[in-house]
Symmetry: C2
Subunit: 227 residues, 2 copies
Amino acid sequence: MKGVIGILGGMGPAATVDFMARLLAATPAQRDEDHYRILVDCNPHVPNRNRAAAGEASPPGPVLAGMARGLERQGATLLAMPCNAAHAYTADIRAAVSIPFVSMIEETGAALAARHPEARRVGLLAVDGTLAAGLYQPYLPEPVLLPAEAQAHFMALIYRIKAGDTSAKARAEMAAFAATLVDAGAQAVVAGCTEVPLVLDGGDVAAPLLSTTDILVAATLALASAG
Amino acid sequence: MKGVIGILGGMGPAATVDFMARLLAATPAQRDEDHYRILVDCNPHVPNRNRAAAGEASPPGPVLAGMARGLERQGATLLAMPCNAAHAYTADIRAAVSIPFVSMIEETGAALAARHPEARRVGLLAVDGTLAAGLYQPYLPEPVLLPAEAQAHFMALIYRIKAGDTSAKARAEMAAFAATLVDAGAQAVVAGCTEVPLVLDGGDVAAPLLSTTDILVAATLALASAG
């Protein structure tokens, strides 16, 4: 129990709190002191990843690099970032620090290969920035994506979740997006946005659902326990 | 929306995550960027406050002062700490930094005076460390406390909550402790431990319940919005 976990957060804030809650729940702990120390920079003022991908906002890389340096200076021994789209700036983060950065993209790729080696057609629920940066493409032989119109509605739903809507209606809409991918032949679905698990559980999808949040939790705890 | 909120956390970790979730829910925000930046040092290795009060652990003051300095260095413009017992070390924290520290004890005292000026007999659910340090006594004309044996059972329940038990049984037990105070004449009950609201809501108590967590949320946001 030696690692100090640094979290590059705030993208969005609720997803960061969800990640923290899942970290705690997944830590074998009976007492406060059994938990890891967690340093969090929950910074909702990082330039918008989707707008940056569209050339409409300044690149988030330098801001994320500064947050990473600050967390390292505070004593973090490893870093994690519960936002898929922001992983487009992984190189900026890794170049800024000397501690490991656990990539939820790479870890999800590894989890896919380990859990579903037979799956060729894999569904991906992800925001425009993640798709534009091509983050998951290296891991998906035949990605199954939402049609353009549905993707626009999916983005609107993500922004509603960011505004606090985790209603039954929001849950039903997210389940319908996942069903669209399964109907299109997806043998597994990647919840490739940390807002998705706020309104979608495995039981809501008729194919295996990979929560990138939970995958990042497991990988972060594995590294933290190692050192 | 200028303040950067620093949180001295980890006492316990779930209470810190609960505080963060309530901060987000209470922030008027439609988009990520409407939220405050929050820097968190969730440090579950702060010496145990109850054991320190009993002379069985080293004083947490220096550790808390170091955490406060670290958060200030990171850019926090105000500090809050969602742990009542740790407020016994408020002077150490305030002496360590030049930014304001919002005391949940002082804020709860102010809320009591404002909301229940007529209440003389006020119930207090608090851990041994909080009681031993006499943190709430200045604000409670006639404190109504649990009898010694019930207090021991209350402490055991708090440690169960810290171990992750937020079951219906835990909820019922906490409601019973609050009922004991009301039956003893409490005109209001202070949930003077941040683990309490994890299993107790206002609707569970037959007298007004003051959640020190929610009071700290409101005071923190008021100060953050001011600058």
